[in-house]
């Protein structure tokens, strides 16, 4: 390495270090620990968009629908902090005249009180002990990290069966 290149590298490193140490007091993560689920083609790492998807929490107050008949490639599935189990129903749009198909994903977990930061606040993290699903359209589900935190990373991978991908 020449002297000039060394000086350039050293100055860039110094600049990066000093800038990295400057926080502006903003929260760059979520204000709650929400598992972000993303859809993939079964057996691959290719993401896909699920058409006409409806997502609803089972026993949600007033049967509130989280996503209604939309085309999505990912969605947040908020977990309940007062119980240890949360279930979601994923209902897929079908051709006219055919009955719709739905899968159910079940989370079993322990809510853990967590103070993230002054900017993001306090919340619950969720230590997931088991994750199950039915297999009408979903081939499998995997959890990226057993502890769901307030980061914006994908927490849940939902693999859709080959027969149902287009």
């Amino acid at each position: 390495m020449t002297r000039g290149a060394f000086l350039h590298t050293a100055m860039c490193a110094l600049l990066a270090w000093t800038l990295a140490a400057c926080g502006d007091g903003s929260c760059y993560d979520n204000g709650s620990s929400l598992p972000l689920a993303r859809f993939y083609e079964s057996g691959t790492t290719s993401t896909l968009t699920v058409l006409n998807l409806t997502v609803k929490g089972i026993d949600s107050p007033g049967d509130t629908i989280l996503i209604k008949n939309s085309s999505v490639s990912e969605c947040y599935l908020p977990l309940r902090a007062t119980v240890n189990t949360t279930q979601y129903e994923l209902r897929y749009g079908t051709e006219e005249g055919k009955a719709s198909v739905a899968d159910t994903i079940t989370f079993n977990y322990k809510p853990v009180p967590y103070f993230s930061s002054h900017e993001c606040g306090a919340m619950y993290n969720f230590e997931v002990s088991s994750l199950t699903t039915t297999h009408h359209v979903i081939d499998s589900v995997t959890l990226v990290n057993p502890v769901i935190t307030n980061t914006t990373n994908v927490a849940l991978r939902i693999y859709i069966s080959d027969d149902d991908t287009e």
Binding site: G57, S60, P61, Y114, F115, H118, G121, A122
Partner: protein
Amino acid sequence: MKHCLSYHATLLRYALIGLMMATGLGISAQERRVTPVRPETNTVRTPDKNLDPKYIEQYLTGDSLKAQAEARKDSLRRVYPRYPRLTDVALGINFIDPVLMAFGQDYASVDVSATLNMWNRLQPVVELGLGWAKSTPDDMNFTYRCKPSPYFKVGANYNFLFKSKPQYQVYFGVRLGYSTFNYEVTDISYKNSYWQETTSFSITNQRSHALWGELAAGLKVTLFKQVALGWSLRYHGVFSYGKSDNARPWYIPGYGKRSGSLGFTVTAYYTLPLSKSKWPAVD
């Protein structure tokens, strides 16, 4: 017979050499002359203006090497005044944070320090203090508390004005800080809008520690007699800190906000001179 001839030849050789040397000496003695001094090289060197008369005396008495050495030392003393190894000790109190707390800052650190001034140049420093915090930010769902907790820092300053009087200092310094402390996050209100649930909880008895480093730049000015005031700007970073499954500390005593990188101190000093009789006379 052969030996005899050789012996005589040697004698003859020595005799000739002796004759030549005697003749040569006689010639050189006769030709010896004093070289005339040319006027342009015959200048008289005058001593330096500030040279002590005792060195001039040494020159005149012929001990010029010693005189040169001592004159050089004397010159260095004037350009580079040498303070004694233990020049003074300054006891300080950093009081800016309580003032800032009155203007809305959520945390404070107060420390006392001892600074040993060595040669008016290198200054080992020890700082001991207490830090605390209480914060209930607007539009957030918690109250963060850190009870008064101890911290200490060790380091050193380098005084750039070491040629000047110790009453005026501009310095650059480094510090290594450590603190162990307890904190809690209370009155947490957690709302899940989709499931329409609201829960309240607290995270208590959180124990942590932190190790950090600081780069400091500052100045110190004596206001009257032995009382001085100074400030320093500090750029710092945390090397390591303790976190649990439930929380990470927001505030570190002696450091400030864990995510922050700048600190500021204002310190009042009381200075005790040491070996003052050995202090050089500095304008």
